[in-house]
Symmetry: C2
Amino acid sequence: MVSPTLSDVAQAAGVSYATADRVINNRGNVAQKSIDKVREAVAALGYVRNVAAANLSRNRVYRLAFLIPTGTNAFFNRIRNHIRHAAEHLSVDRITVEIIDVSAFSVDALEESIADLAQRDVDGVAIVGLQNPLLEGPLAKLRESGVAVIGLVSDLPQKFRSAYIGIDNMVAGRTAARMTGMAHAGGLGAIQTFVGSMEARDHAERLQGFCDVIAADYPHLTVLDPILTKDDPAVLKEAAGAVLSARSNVTAFYNVGAGNSGLVAAIGAAPENRPFCVVHELVAHSKQALIDKHIDLVIDQRPDIEVNRAFAMLRALLDERDLPPMPDLMPTIYVQDNLPADPLIDIAEAQSR
Amino acid sequence: MVSPTLSDVAQAAGVSYATADRVINNRGNVAQKSIDKVREAVAALGYVRNVAAANLSRNRVYRLAFLIPTGTNAFFNRIRNHIRHAAEHLSVDRITVEIIDVSAFSVDALEESIADLAQRDVDGVAIVGLQNPLLEGPLAKLRESGVAVIGLVSDLPQKFRSAYIGIDNMVAGRTAARMTGMAHAGGLGAIQTFVGSMEARDHAERLQGFCDVIAADYPHLTVLDPILTKDDPAVLKEAAGAVLSARSNVTAFYNVGAGNSGLVAAIGAAPENRPFCVVHELVAHSKQALIDKHIDLVIDQRPDIEVNRAFAMLRALLDERDLPPMPDLMPTIYVQDNLPADPLIDIAEAQSR
DNA sequence: CTGAAAGCGCTTACAG
DNA sequence: CTGAAAGCGCTTACAG
């Protein structure tokens, strides 16, 4: 039971190889009669196109690009490492990968980078995006020129990308709230929250999800107004330190954004009777803080899986084949006991220093 | 910068294509001088073998098999569904997949099934194994005949398989303990544990990990002796019901094994003031129990990821290429908020009824 | 020990 | 609108 080839199909349909090929790939210029005959033969034989052979024959090379925000953000450094690491194993499949740095959180910079891509010789691109209409023009152009576009970690305007790979930040916030609620075991409490910026959509969504769950299921807990940190460790250290030394009634810390090293430093300076601590993204210092019992939980979006999926998705898109199975990506909960021994986490951090 | 081909290498080395091929694939019968020249050329040009072309030329078809325990166990039904689902998308790559049922937990049955595989025309196999020396004979034969063998979910004797894909059950138990500890917020408590069988290695390991963490970090909690359930829902229902109606001082339930539907039924019958509940494996009824707030946490080993990795691993093994990046698989923690909308979970359950 | 050549299942000009 | 043929990068007999 060897699978049928295109020449089997052609023979069964009574047409030439080339004509069968034209039908299979919708290349046009075929008589309706021929089309019907080929379609029938395909159905009868159960023909399925051999993508590997097709790619070989056109000497297919996938040139992929990732647009990633710059900066010392340990999370994006982790993403970068996962891309590079995956890329090493992908050269076997004739895939070249380029990481393009984009100034973080700047719509203008992102717009320009996307426009530049059209010049570049690229087949597919994954973009850490922003939901901004300014991006629509360059994105439309990119897609017109046949480039596959997906959003990664942070979405693009939906009509201008083929897929989005990332978590739902509302869910991430809800998950953080659930754990914080549980950890109070029915007792009273007050939760001090920290956010980088309320303009950052992901931060706002996480906080929203967090507050929703606390209000619904843990009414004996109070969520205090968030302290704005700009994701700056120094700001976090100072603010958290102030709360701790005030011997307030705060029973938990939830940092919605980045800058965790500052939070950990403040806690390390006053370890007795610290509040329950939840933060986002597993990077070298948050991992170490878990091990040191300075914090309790890390909610992570699994950048390794995100990157792998981005590659799989781009390839499927470029091969014009069905997408591989991809259930929703859900935030993962780490405690000190289920930490992955992922060397890329630590590399990421080393580079960000 | 097109990547060099074997004919580039042959030309650079001053030998024929066939000779270069012999060196690249270690086929032997080549003069040392030729070997050296080819090796140099490979290094100089940065040649990397095109696996797709190689597979095409030998008309490579991968015939893979999975040996999975039978029974109504919802977890293994979930595994089955993931295999079938992945298989649908794999026919494109000339991969055929066969699921072979094996009587659960029977060394004899497993031994026989492995022996049968040698007859069958199979290139690679993933086996839900047992650590039993009886398996070594048939496994050795299988590998001699060139079949790639990996352990899945439960390991085989280590020397007789190329890789193991599954979680560390000690880690799973530790994780369960950490969450249970947190949920007591420093208060006193007693934890009733349930195990299927202390002979089952995975159960014993989970319980061990659980007890270790409670003893080390939550000394104010007591772990009660496990109730033996044989993974039978009826036994669990009865036992848990008895504990609940005794109005004991039990503050938490931890079910190390299967049979959760019985536990949930007992809780559903007496929902007021129920203990904190941790179970293993996300299947339709444990998912529903989370949503219904009958239980608090599910520790899951992500069978979807395990299955995907099993396929990737077997392919890499058969292609004799480097293994793709695979960080340790860690148990995942689910609460009602980060549940995946995975249709295969529910299919699995429907079939097991 | 070495090399020339057919073939894997496709795509792509090219000729008609 | 249709078909014959070269070529993609490899493997595999086969001849020497």
